[in-house]
């Protein structure tokens, strides 16, 4: 497997706070990569750096071999590198199907294509994906009236609708009922295997991430603490110290 995202020596500070210091990591194409670390360890900052929300101070970020650290959010999104938000962002005033149809990959459309109506296939795909995340029955409801967990599922379905190459998920299971989490893990895995989408996941729930990821990176205090297979990370004393506090 080759790497699709490559970070080399990425640093980012906010004033005196070093959110990320000299981070290097690789996301394997077609795989599931996990990113863990205690609160405030710089995970979301790293995500934001990758998708272009803020410029980085040092280092390089490559997507499919192309340097993207100087590019803007919409430009990066149009390359097929998509992110979901820690606090979900959906279009609350619209129903679920509309939310899905808006998420069609506009980057692949010319203006003339955009001035066409959605096709029968678009609707079918939207409904199929809503069924995939278990929201089919609620498809005609205002998405803002859904519960937080359902909104997260909707946001995930919207991301799949967009046919991304890589999907960056910021805590996909946070706020979701534990009984639904197993279903979500299964769906994430299927998105990876069936749709061939490379996943990079920030997650606090160790059971979830150890269950899914091929490779796990652990951040602490803005630095890369450890990386490797889930089993190795789980037993790494430095990781345990970072989470539980070293004595």
């Amino acid at each position: 497997m080759s790497s699709i995202i490559e970070l080399n020596g990425v640093s980012k500070s906010f004033g005196g706070v070093k959110a990320n210091a000299d981070i290097s990591m690789k996301v394997e194409k077609g795989g599931i990569t996990g990113l863990i670390g205690p609160n405030g360890s710089g995970k979301t900052t790293l995500f934001n750096s990758i998708v272009g929300y803020h410029p980085i101070d040092k280092g390089s970020i490559k997507f499919e071999g192309q340097e993207i650290s100087k590019m803007l959010v919409p430009e990066i999104a149009r390359l097929g590198l998509l992110r979901t938000f820690q606090t979900t962002r959906i279009y609350g005033a619209m129903n679920c199907v509309q939310n899905m149809l808006i998420s069609l990959p506009h980057r692949k459309m010319s203006l003339m294509d955009a001035l066409k109506r959605n096709t029968r296939e678009d609707y079918e795909r939207a409904e199929h994906l809503l069924e995939f995340v278990g929201l089919y029955e609620k498809r005609n409801l205002r998405s803002g009236s859904l519960s937080f967990g359902q909104q997260k599922l909707l946001e995930f379905a919207m991301a799949l609708m967009n046919e991304p190459t890589v999907l960056l998920l910021d805590e996909p299971t946070a706020g979701i009922n534990p009984t639904l989490i197993n279903g979500l893990i299964d769906r994430l895995k299927r998105a990876n295997s069936e749709f061939g989408i490379t996943l990079l996941i920030i997650e606090h729930n160790m059971r979830v991430i150890m269950n899914m990821a091929d490779t796990v990176y652990c951040l602490a205090h803005g630095e890369m603490l450890a990386s490797g297979k889930p089993e190795d990370i789980q037993d790494d004393p430095r990781v345990i110290d970072a989470y539980l506090g070293a004595h």
Binding site: R78, L82, A93, K116
Partner: protein
């Protein structure tokens, strides 16, 4: 089926109304003007979330484009305005109607071009800043034009008088507005059913998310505003022929009158809906004419009170109020998957 009947009834009424109520011909024409500016304001204000207070710029610019095209086809515009009506300038009917037809198209296209240029400069602004920024553009344009002697400066400019009977000319104006209004309504109905329509809704609801999903936000915003400006420009051009003489600050770039009225119409009817601006324009026009007739002297107070009541109590307008009262009318239901499809 019922919908088709409704549309046919509306079109039929549109056609016979000026003949049934010839005394109200000008009123009905103005009503169509309100519908046009309200519908086109809603394209960006309601559907895309960019509340422009400067759409009146396109109305005024449309008027001046019409004047320059119609006069310029036959005479030298600078000499014409310098003569201030002193010279003898006449148009044959053919020249007049050629000017009229070309004016409408030229005004629309020129305003679209202006929208793209102004949009490029102002679409970085969000929310109230965009509203103030565009208002500034409209006010500045009025001041600039009133100091531009080539188009008549603060005196304004006169269009040629219409050839033939003036009563017939009123019908022509009415039907020009009505045709533009119907075309705009059908255009909006089609546009909001496309992916483009959905995308501008996405920009309204969460532009950052739309960007993160790879939607070409700036491009779509420019195109939407250019479409909206086209129709306002055409309406302005028709107004130029209707009013015959107009001046820059009170008529063409009338920010505090029509510039605000179009927003109030949309607020009354319901932002971001297809029918809202139309219903709002009718409600507003009736309200305005009633107060102007029966409460003269207090009409601005009444109008102010109406705006306050709408903004405080009915922010979503009539259609929005209906949508919260009767969500099922708008298709908001829980629907189980049909059994055969689930297998």
């Amino acid at each position: 089926m019922n919908k088709a009947l409704l549309y046919i009834a509306i079109i039929a009424f549109t056609i016979v109304a000026p003949f049934l109520f010839p005394a109200y011909n000008t009123q009905l024409a103005t009503l169509w003007l309100m519908i046009i500016v309200a519908l086109s304001w809603d394209m960006t204000g309601g559907q895309m979330g960019y509340n422009s207070l400067g759409n009146i710029f396109f109305y005024g610019t449309g008027m001046y484009v019409a004047a320059v095209v119609t006069i310029g086809l036959v005479y030298n515009v600078g000499e014409y305005t310098a003569a201030s009506g002193g010279g003898i300038y006449e148009w044959t009917p053919t020249q007049y109607y050629t000017g009229l037809a070309l004016s409408l198209i030229a005004a629309g296209l020129f305003c679209s071009l202006c929208a793209i240029i102004i949009g490029y400069l102002t679409f970085g602004l969000r929310g109230p800043y965009f509203a103030i920024g565009t208002l500034g553009v409209a006010i500045a344009a009025g001041e600039l034009v009133s100091n531009w002697d080539w188009v008549g400066g603060g005196q304004g400019i006169s269009m040629p008088s219409p050839p033939g009977d003036f009563e017939n000319f009123k019908f022509l104006i009415y039907f020009l507005y009505a045709a533009t209004g119907v075309a705009l309504f059908m255009f909006c109905k089609w546009l909001y059913s496309t992916r483009f329509g959905a995308a501008i809704n996405a920009i309204r609801d969460d532009e950052e998310k739309a960007e993160a999903m790879g939607i070409h936000t700036l491009r779509y915003k420019l195109v939407a505003w250019a479409m909206s400006a086209f129709f306002v420009g055409v309406a302005g051009a028709i107004s130029a022929f209707q009013l015959i003489h107009f001046e820059p600050l009170e008529t063409a770039y009338q920010t505090i009158n029509l510039g605000i009225f179009m927003v109030v119409c949309v607020l009354l009817g319901g932002k971001g809906t297809l029918w809202g601006p139309v219903i709002g324009a009718i409600m507003f026009h009736v309200f305005k004419e009633l107060t102007w007739n029966y409460f003269l002297g207090w009409q601005w107070v009444a109008l102010g009170a109406l705006i306050v009541v709408v903004v405080v109590y009915f922010q979503d307008g009539l259609m929005g109020w209906l949508a919260t009262k009767k969500p099922e009318w708008f298709g908001e239901t829980i629907e189980e998957k049909p059994v055969e499809a689930a297998q």
